[in-house]
Amino acid sequence: MTTPAKAGPAPATPVTTPAPERLPLYREMRRVRTFEERVGELFVRGESAGSMLHLSIGEEGAAVGVGTTMRDGDTFTTHHRGHGIFLARGADPRRMMAEIGGKETGYCHGKGGSMHIADMSLGHLGANAIVGGGIPAVVGAGLVARRRRSGAVSLAFFGDGAMQQGILYESMNMAALWDLPVVFVCVNNQWGMGTRIDQATKATALHERAAAFGLRAETVDGVDVLAVRAAAERIVGAAREGRPGFLAIDCYRFFGHARKDKSPYRTEEEEAEGRRRDPVSRARDELLAEGVAEEELDTLDREVATEMDAAIDYAIASAEPQLDSMFRDVFAPDQPEPEPVRTRIDRVLARD
């Protein structure tokens, strides 16, 4: 019952979905793009908590194409470059931006930051700063979904870097072995920090590895959000029936690894070429070609810009967490908090 792996990226999907249905996808991608641009701005303005901000610009087709196929009850984990996926799944950009600023109003009250944004109420089991660290959790979530017959699917999002982590193979094997409602999504932006995918592996047809474990596996072109969504619907739909899958989405990381990385390891020509593979401008061009009025798209873009400007304002206006909040949530709320070092020292030295 294993579907043979495709030989490579699927050909571009002919434009058959009518424009009105595609406009929301464009809007979502624009939201991701603009959000990430504002994250860059937050850093430049010195309002982000640190510089370890990994922008997903160039990966909007992957985030939106898969993110919008998830249903309520589905769960997912993301990686250090996961802002876009979470936003596409319905996150509040203000609380995301506040978290990136390390503020109390952020999703994790300033404890997690850019690399650890999560919202359990949206099924987001967490973003991870350990490459591959979030992958096996979807096997567990898939196991629970199957046992409880909830009909939910659990998806792990990760980058091409994680394709060389052993934990992925242990997880894929178990998901396949137990026929779990699980999907592994590799957002292949070609670069793991300063290492190009072909410098990290000989086996660059990533879906072939998953197929070898018995997963339904495809590679799709991430520039084409419709193609991504079609593939995601196939793979996620099958997973919902107990046939786990894998989807590799080819795209390009437009900027450096993190905010301080100027990508000296790749040529300007390569970057220029890579940035031509732009899922947002492609979707826009297609809509225009189909007769959607430019003013309509401009208005949409402005609305998104206003929304994301508000997210920055919200983050900046939000308060820092109270210092004593750092002792909260080490354990469950009804458990005693760890004794602060200062309190202990005073107690010890107060002895006679």
Binding site: G50, G113, M193, Y265, M326, F327, P338
Partner: protein, 324 residues
């Protein structure tokens, strides 16, 4: 004397070790073309080539395990883990393999490798990129452990680590890479495993290592202004542990504080405090006080991160209370 940064000193130690011994090589993520996530191996690939600065995929267990095998096969690998937090991935290869091989195979072979990494707070890097995990290493028999605090030690301890017959874990501090000091690297270093008394005082002793040595020195300076004179010991290596130097200073002053950035419970400070309490009991006038990181994960929030670990102020305040 030339001014050098901690980062440059490490870079030079690598270059000279690579030049001196053809069996030395570096293996890890982004160590070659990129020059290391924190720039420690920058430029080395130009002189030594990709065979001796081996860029790897993101595969921490295999990076450490490859170094173990290469060491057993006769070479001198320096494996780099980009963050000490990634030790979680490579723990088996370090603790079940590297640390055990000499012993469980009855002394037939050793694993002369260096595992370089960096840890600590200071960059808002969050819970999985800011930890101080030296206690994990110190708790495992068979592993040596180095944590340089100064530019001079960054250079010399790395050179010395590469002469050891057993696996050495070498943990740099991300907050020290830009530290610039005037150093004479030609000055002969203390013997491997020796602590250094960075400041002498009659009233008490602060035992520290890695970045908190600088906080302890700053606290000692402030205290001196208030007429309180403390010794500051920089342990430099936690295994071997130079307890003789600690004992000497504790016996001299009768009061001791141990300082570390890692969490308090079962940490390096706990081990030091226990040993001081056991071995210097007759000389102690007060409990040995631990000034450590809180028993909590590290937050990304700048304020919470700073509040989670001891700075000069807490050390000074505690010393005043202890030595009053």
């Amino acid at each position: 004397m030339p001014m050098l940064t901690y980062r440059e000193a490490l870079n030079r130690a690598h270059a000279e070790a690579l030049r001196a011994d053809d069996d030395v090589f570096v293996i890890g993520e982004e160590v070659g073309r990129y020059g290391g996530a924190y720039g420690v191996t920058k430029g080395l690939i130009e002189e030594f080539g990709p065979d001796r600065l081996i860029d790897t995929p993101i595969s921490e267990p295999a990076i450490v395990g490859t170094a173990v095998g290469a060491a057993m096969a006769g070479m001198r690998p320096i494996a780099e883990l980009m963050y000490v937090d990634f030790l979680g991935m490579a723990m088996d290869q370090l603790c079940n393999q590297a640390a055990k091989i000499r012993y469980m195979f009855g002394g037939q072979i050793g694993v002369p490798m260096v595992l370089r990494t960096q840890g600590g707070t200071g960059r808002s890097a969050g819970a999985q990129h800011s930890q101080s995990l030296e206690a994990y290493v110190m708790h495992t028999p068979g592993l040596r452990l180095c944590m340089p605090a100064t530019v001079y030690d960054a250079y010399h301890l790395l050179r010395q680590a590469l002469e050891q017959p057993d696996p050495v874990v070498f943990i740099e501090h991300k907050g020290l890479y830009a530290l610039r000091e005037e150093v004479d690297l030609d000055e002969p270093p203390p013997a491997w495993g020796e602590a250094v008394v960075r400041r002498e005082g009659r009233d008490g002793v602060l035992v520290a290592y890695s970045r908190v040595v600088h906080h302890a020195m700053a606290a000692a300076e402030t205290l001196a202004g208030q007429g309180i004179e403390v010794s500051v010991i920089d342990l430099r290596t936690l295994n071997p542990l130079d307890f003789a130097t600690v004992r000497r200073e504790v016996e001299k002053t009768g009061k001791a504080m141990v300082v570390s950035e890692g969490p308090m419970t079962a940490g390096v400070g706990a081990e030091l405090a226990a040993r001081i309490s056991e071995e210097c009991f007759d000389f102690l006038e007060d409990p040995v006080v631990r000034v450590t990181g809180e028993d909590i994960p590290i937050s990304v929030s700048v304020e919470l991160e700073k509040g989670s670990v001891p700075g000069a102020e807490l050390i000074e305040e505690t010393a005043r209370k202890l030595l009053a």
